[in-house]
């Protein structure tokens, strides 16, 4: 994602929250915009997560 794209994405995401950031804040926020987070990469595909979701539904 280019810097301009990241800024535009940040502008849209924050705009949805009703926030109009300054150009300086937008540049800072854009640094957090990127491809999907690799957070918990192993865990997100663990089959027990799906199983757990089912159990969770049962608990309800």
């Amino acid at each position: 994602m280019t810097e301009i794209d990241a800024k535009e994405t940040a502008r849209i995401l924050l705009g949805r929250a009703g926030i109009t950031p300054s150009e300086e804040d937008l540049a800072r926020a854009a640094a957090f915009v990127g491809p999907p987070s690799p957070r918990n990469p192993k865990l997100a595909t663990e089959p027990q997560l799906m199983q757990s979701a089912g159990e969770w539904e049962e608990r309800r």
């Binding site: 009703g18 926030i19 950031p21 957090f32 918990n40 997100a44």
Partner: protein, 459 residues
């Protein structure tokens, strides 16, 4: 440090009831200490000396009439400036609330007042509790009593510094990702994050509703347990509050023979530690073993795999959204930037992280069928210099934040010193509502060591 300033809450309470000391004497000693040390520490945002003097006189008068309001009766304390105080400015460490004077008390403040505690004022913190250094942009940085060039941790840094330096006997902190335990570890005091829901959060500015805990910092484990007893209890005004009749965090204190206690060492949490931290914590665990505890390493697969949950940020952004729209300039650049980044989190990430959180909690519950306490370092490093704080300071919360997601109680106990002669903390996590067990183990450790008796050398 003067004799009074080194006294524990338990000892001060005994002397108060034996009429060997008065609350007025305790309070004046602490006020004198505050006046001397504040230019160096900046632990307070608002001091309430005259109200404290009045409360101390009332506490003495009550005791003279045989009225005993509990373990904090007549004890000088401090309150994190995140807690609403009726008629006293409550800033949350922010410029947004710089002029807010609530017309009500937070429930925890009411409990302190009804319990006879003497508040010396409102303690400095990281802005809106969203940070771990207490380098407050608006009210100045809190300084660590062990080395005033360094930060005290946060976000309850004012409480940590004030307790460590003897300005107060104990104080209120809040903990969303480690904000009680981090300053406790970095200032060599005890910090106790209670089970989620045990202490009411009504009237406390939220950071993240599903992760916020209120709890004490004090100089000994017994003091932290006594303090917790004074502020715990069901409160209908907090939707997360739980009923726990007969709760007593002190009930196992004194059982210092740890035979029968099973300690699980969360070995994955010893990776990437600054030199000196792991050594101190391993030595502490050996002390527990020497006291009779059985010790073994435990695996918590999700934690060991580097679990990172994004729940705090979106909840904080939800709370702050309106102010971010209307008064963004009233946030520091640092906190506004992190809130804006949090405001862009995806709903699907937040929701799936809540599901992962449930999985993680189940894993920890399973592990704790076989052990009574989990042991690990509180922080991966000692306190750093204030003039070298960088965004990476959030690493201080790396080992503490997982336990906010499970909601179980955790105590941090001083366990030695690392680089630069700065304090290191040992974390002991227990099962939900088993504060008495972690306090037993922490107290036993204290009795076998002298770390908690060391005095800050930076002031």
């Amino acid at each position: 440090m003067t004799e009074i300033a080194t006294m524990s809450i338990a000892e001060a309470g005994r002397r108060l009831r034996a009429r060997e000391v008065s609350s007025v004497e305790l309070t004046e000693a602490c006020i004198a200490r505050v006046e001397t040390l504040e230019p160096k520490l900046n632990a307070f945002i608002t001091r309430t000396n005259e109200q404290a003097r009045s409360a101390a006189k009332a506490a003495d008068a009550d005791l003279a009439r045989g009225i005993d309001r509990g373990p904090l009766h007549g004890i000088p304390v401090g309150i994190k400036d995140l807690c609403a105080t009726k008629g006293i400015r409550t800033t949350a460490g922010s410029n947004v609330l710089a002029d807010w004077v609530p017309d009500f008390d937070a429930t925890v403040v009411t409990k302190l007042r009804e319990g006879g505690a003497v508040s010396l004022g409102k303690l400095n913190l990281h802005e809106f509790a969203y940070g771990v250094t207490s380098a407050n942009h608006w009210y100045g940085p809190v300084r660590n009593p062990w080395d005033t060039a360094r930060h005290p941790g946060g976000s309850s840094g004012g409480t940590g510094a004030a307790v460590a330096s003897g300005e107060i006997f104990g104080g209120i902190g809040s903990d969303t990702g480690g904000s009680i335990r981090i300053p406790a570890a970095l200032c060599a005091v005890v910090g106790l994050m209670p089970t989620y829901g045990l202490v009411s959060r009504a009237g406390v500015t939220p950071l993240s509703w599903s992760l916020d805990h209120i709890g004490p910092l004090a100089r000994t484990v017994e003091d932290a347990a006594l303090f917790l007893n004074a502020i715990a209890g069901y409160d209908a005004a907090d939707p997360g509050s739980v009923r726990r009749d007969g709760f007593d965090a002190t009930e196992q204190i004194g059982r210092d023979d740890l035979r029968g206690v099973r300690v699980g060492v969360v070995r994955s949490q010893f990776e990437r530690l600054e030199e000196g931290v792991g050594e101190a914590v391993n030595a502490a665990i050996a002390v527990l073993e020497g006291l009779g505890a059985s010790v073994r390493d435990v695996a918590i697969p999700m934690l060991d795999a580097g679990l990172r949950l994004s729940i705090l940020g979106p909840e904080a952004a939800a709370y702050h959204a309106e102010w971010l729209r209307t008064v963004p300039e009233k946030y520091s650049d640092e906190v506004r930037a992190i809130l804006l980044s949090a405001a862009m989190e995806m709903a699907i990430d937040y929701i799936n992280d809540q599901r992962l959180r449930r999985e993680f909690t189940d894993q920890v519950r399973e592990v704790m069928r076989d052990v009574d306490v989990l042991a690990m370092p509180t922080c991966p490093a000692v306190a750093g210099r204030i003039d070298e704080i960088v965004a990476g300071a959030y690493r201080y919360a790396a080992l503490t934040s997982p336990w906010n997601h499970t909601g179980q109680p955790v105590i941090s106990v001083p366990c030695g010193f690392g680089q630069g002669g700065m304090p290191v903390g040992l974390s002991l996590a227990g099962r939900p509502f088993e504060e008495a067990v972690i306090c037993r183990v922490g107290h036993a450790y204290e009795q076998a060591t002298d770390w908690h008796t060391r005095q800050p050398k930076g002031i």
